[in-house]
Point group: C3
Chain length 214, copies 3
């Protein structure tokens, strides 16, 4: 399992920190108080995993019981709380780190679903949700429509492909460290490519004409 | 059980398709991308059942593990994705189909709650939630206040009466196909009557005067 | 256990009634219909406990299965439905009662988490969530950003301190009636002091200058 390796654990903690920073930043922009900022850090960093764990019956979720992960969310929140005047300018770095978190969370989330006996279909759903759920919770708690649903730029699609590939590897009994790392690298690469080359999902179908994009 | 009969299964799948169409339409109107449109289809078609299953401990919920139901949500989403320019005009038909879904979901949801050992009270709550939860989730994810909470026109009340009648039949050991079908038909009839004759629930109490309605 | 004592039970029911009144009032202000008003009463009075129970696996949650508590929420909702023209003026009384509910819920919620075998960390989280979750759900369902996240005036902090103190007493095997009552009294006192003396949590860090408050 990816998150049982030292490197996997470091990546998981880093992923939570980065997710938490995105939540804290959203809260700072809404002028939340320090408590609200830390709650948003928690929600964005660990909310996806909480949704996953509730859906597969792994309660209490690690997002409220694992001290290491909660400390990571707290650190991410505090870093952004004190650092936001400068960190807003480091946006590019944060977006790249976030792509790493997306990659790791979608792979690890799918594996956890399978380990809990979920069907491959359900495991893929919770894998994607692990990747994108924190951001959705962050947006709902700050009164925004979840950006993942309307922003066009590919974000959930890499997570979905990663979750599908993970379930396939599991089915083929190839879900070892090498295979899962390759999948995570693919998700990361696709997400970064989406950022770099502005790969967009189409909007509502227009019937005729160029179809889709804004 | 209603949803173990062929006709019940067809109705359940149809209900999910219709719910999914309502979700996809809401997403199209908000200019979501195709991923967001399909997520909203899933949320509106299967979200009520997911809430029910999480509350009664039936995890993973069928809404993320049952391939047949998820395919129904996907179909509903795709039909609306490609068909929305025409289907907006077929609104009346959709509203009637939605009444059928409401009727079926509230009856089937209550029975599932009772089968999982919930108290009659809890079963009624999850029954109503199965009927109205998908629409609530759809509204929250698109940044709207849930229409079922403020629209006045009777929607949750037929579901509530249906859930109560279902729990009563269960208690009397009369919850067979005939009895449950009659309850579902009653819910459907009451909902259609509310549409046809504009039956409204009262708004906030005004103290004196004609009391209620806008 | 606090909520096994007659006085604890009375306080718990009172807490639900008061929470429900706050939910119903929010719904009245949004011109919800009577069904929506009662749903908001339920969500605000019992939603925190429902979130707690789902997170610790105590399903179905007492918030949908305990007739006594649901009756309390219904009473609170109906009192506000019929009484809102007058009760808006009794705001001060309601706010004080709400401080009592916050105190009781955070202590009782933490104990329930510990009884279900949650780690102390997880128990503290669900304790705080029991205290503040109902209000958060109320705000989300009425289309508002949860007031607890941005209002500044101390609300969640007393609940957090109370949950921490409860977990500490439990660890020291001192979580008897006297100890827990003292903790609840402390939470209540701190919340009332926050109201009386306008104790505020800081907002986003400004880097230099007076730092924080608006």
């Amino acid at each position: 399992m990816l998150n049982e390796l030292p490197v996997g654990q470091v990546l998981e903690v880093l992923g939570v920190v980065v997710g938490a920073m995105s939540g804290a930043l959203a809260a700072v922009r809404k002028q939340f108080d320090v408590f609200g900022i830390l709650v948003l850090a928690w929600a964005a960093g660990l909310g996806g995993g909480v949704l996953r764990d509730v859906l597969i019956g792994a309660v209490p979720p690690v997002g409220i019981s694992d001290g290491r992960l909660m400390a990571a969310a707290l650190v991410g929140g505090l870093v952004m709380y004190f650092g936001h005047p400068r960190l807003e300018r480091a946006r590019r770095m944060i977006v790249v780190l976030d792509a790493g978190a997306l990659a790791l969370f979608s792979v690890v989330g799918t594996v956890k679903g399978l380990e809990y006996g979920a069907t491959p279909l359900a495991a893929v759903v919770v894998g994607v949700l692990t990747g994108v759920g924190g951001g959705m919770l962050r947006d709902l708690l700050t009164g925004e429509v979840p950006v993942v649903l309307h922003h066009r730029q590919l974000y959930a699609v890499p997570a979905l492909l990663g979750a599908l590939a993970t379930a396939l590897l599991w089915h083929l009994e190839l879900a070892g460290v090498v295979g899962l790392s390759a999948v995570a690298a693919g998700v990361f690469g696709l997400r970064v490519a989406a950022l770099r080359f502005r790969l967009n999902a189409p909007g509502p179908w227009r019937g005729s004409g160029p179809g889709g994009g804004r």
